[in-house]
């Protein structure tokens, strides 16, 4: 199946849209879970904004300000459409981390929620905010047990059935360290039945899956532009309207107020209430441009393409002696692994210096998950739309030579 809707655009043509591969034709980029590369169209949007459209938004009435404001709000609509939400439900943030911090803080201020539950496989950005806020505000914090790299529904049910009052489950839709995909619908049903709400860390999930926020019944969703072809420094928090309206703002400043007098302030309605100060305007344009690029592709074919690369990677790596795959058998877009005799940093350095293969090594900001697996760090290969089966083969070949070299 062609990856593009535009008369069967080939994989090679997709790669041509990314200037980084023109700069470094030999680059095998397998660190997409950290950040993806950017297409010309997205980069040109940023240049056009600063060249022809630059102005602050929501303030002045002059022509440029009007243009920038319209484009900024159009970008919000594009992001909203991408996950099937209304524009008012989309708050622009610096990225997933800020979205989750905003939520952890604002939900801590609510008397309603007494417990924060977070699985042990979470990225630190969806673990530490809940842990720290629960300490600061006297909430109960539960680091939910996992089996290897997976959250078992029985474990979840047991933990939440003990909850007597409203609680928050914050969980990744797709884990960054191993690529475990959460059965979102089942989890949401279970949590709602037990009187809780669900926050989905979508940093890895949203770049890969066509996600319908309204249909999913998820309460909050956080994701970042830079992991889906957009610029760094911009992301979104999407929330159910009635919940967003009940939340206390997290940061104060310009544009988020309704009326300020000497003793008190009333706040603007959503989403502005959560967007204090001048927002990342060019970032929002870039975010929207990246989404338009993805929308131009056949998303079903893209998902299939990445799943094919992931299973090829499982297959290739499992034939290497001494290599242990940490990801679950059916991981999505991500394969984590360790080798008996070569440290992850040394392996990654070898792959990069010798073969221009870029993978991640380290603890992937998920130390509790690494502890659970009994490793301190691992290697991680992660795929996106421009990767090919040759990339997977280059990785496997590279690992074999690294093992020989260090051996």
């Amino acid at each position: 199946m062609p990856l593009s809707n535009n008369s069967g655009l080939s994989l090679a043509a997709i790669k041509e849209d990314f200037p980084v591969f023109r700069e470094y034709p030999g680059l095998v980029y397998l660190d997409n879970a950290a950040t993806t590369h950017k297409p010309d169209a997205m980069i040109n949007t940023l240049v056009r904004f600063y060249t022809r459209e630059n102005s602050n938004v929501h303030r002045a009435v002059h022509r440029l300000a009007e243009r920038a404001t319209v484009l900024f709000e159009d970008a919000r609509s594009t992001v909203a459409d991408f996950v099937n939400a209304d524009p008012e439900q989309v708050i622009f943030t610096k990225g997933t981390t800020e979205s989750l911090n905003l939520l952890a803080y604002s939900l801590s201020l609510s008397e309603e929620f007494k417990t924060f539950i977070v699985p042990q496989f979470e990225h630190h950005s969806n673990f530490v905010p809940w842990q720290q806020m629960s300490r600061r505000f006297g909430k109960e914090f539960i680091a939910l047990d996992i089996r290897g790299t997976e959250l078992e529904l029985d474990t979840l049910e047991k933990a939440i059935s003990l909850q007597k009052e409203a609680f928050v489950l914050a969980v990744s839709g797709l884990t960054n360290s191993t690529g475990f995909k959460l059965p979102v619908r089942q989890v949401v049903d279970m949590v709602h039945k037990n009187g809780g709400i669900v926050v989905i860390d979508g940093a890895q999930l949203i770049p890969h899956e066509q996600f319908d926020f309204k249909k999913s019944m998820v309460d909050f969703l956080a994701f970042s532009a830079h992991k889906m072809l957009g610029p760094t420094g911009i992301g979104a928090l999407v929330g159910k309207r009635e919940l967003l309206e009940r939340l206390t703002p997290y940061a104060f400043g310009g544009e988020m107020i309704d009326k300020v007098d000497l003793c008190d302030t009333t706040f603007a309605s959503i989403p502005q209430r959560f967007e204090a100060g001048t927002p990342n305007i060019s970032g929002a344009m870039g975010f929207s441009s990246a989404i338009n690029y993805l929308d131009g592709l056949n998303r079903t074919a893209v998902v299939e393409h990445i799943e094919k690369l992931t299973s090829l990677c499982h297959e290739e790596l499992s034939s290497i002696t001494g290599l242990r795959i940490l990801s679950p058998g059916k991981s999505h877009g991500i394969v984590s692994f360790v080798h008996d005799s070569v440290h992850p940093h040394d392996l990654a350095e070898f792959l990069s210096q010798n073969l221009d293969v870029a993978i991640r090594s380290g603890h992937h900001c998920a130390q509790p998950q690494m502890m659970k697996l009994g490793v301190r760090s691992s290697c991680r290969a992660s795929f996106y739309i421009y990767n090919t089966s040759e990339d997977v083969e280059a990785l496997a070949k590279g690992i074999r030579s690294a093992v020989r070299w260090f051996g």
Partner: protein, 141 residues
């Protein structure tokens, strides 16, 4: 820059086996060194006699660079007077700073780790054990 510039034979031989790898049973000083970016951990233990580091051992998990560097450090510091050890550590760490004048003669074999500076992402690895010792000795005059 090639891989051989980073993983020299010197580094590879120190990382594959070191007479100083291990722990002391009853150390006078003990410190955990952690590389926060990758989760690596080294434990350094020292015995002090008459103002000298009489024995020094390291143990733990690390990449070839951090293990080799810990090995070279232990070899160099064992038997040295504390004030001298501190001087050596300060000069070694100076290799990876900007505009620091370093007395390379003090560093003996450890000077062979200098080229890691050209790999900025690995400076944390090469200095891991040394930073730990810097902390362990800071209260000694």
């Amino acid at each position: 820059m090639s891989l051989d510039d980073l993983y020299t034979d010197f580094i590879l031989s120190h990382s594959s086996s070191s007479p100083h790898m291990g722990t002391l049973e009853d150390p006078d000083l003990k410190e955990e060194a952690q590389n926060l970016s990758c989760g690596d951990e080294l434990e350094i233990s020292m015995a002090i006699d008459n103002g000298k580091i009489s024995r020094i051992r390291f143990d733990g998990h690390g990449c070839a660079i951090s293990i080799a560097s810990a090995s070279v450090m232990a070899q160099l510091l064992e038997g040295k007077e504390i004030f001298r050890a501190k001087e050596i550590v300060r000069n070694f760490l100076g290799l990876f700073g900007d505009n620091v004048v370093v007395d390379e003669a003090l560093l003996d074999d450890a000077i062979m780790l200098k080229q890691v500076k050209r790999f900025p992402m690995r400076v944390k690895c090469v200095t891991l054990a040394w930073h730990a010792v810097e902390g362990m000795l800071k209260d000694f005059e």
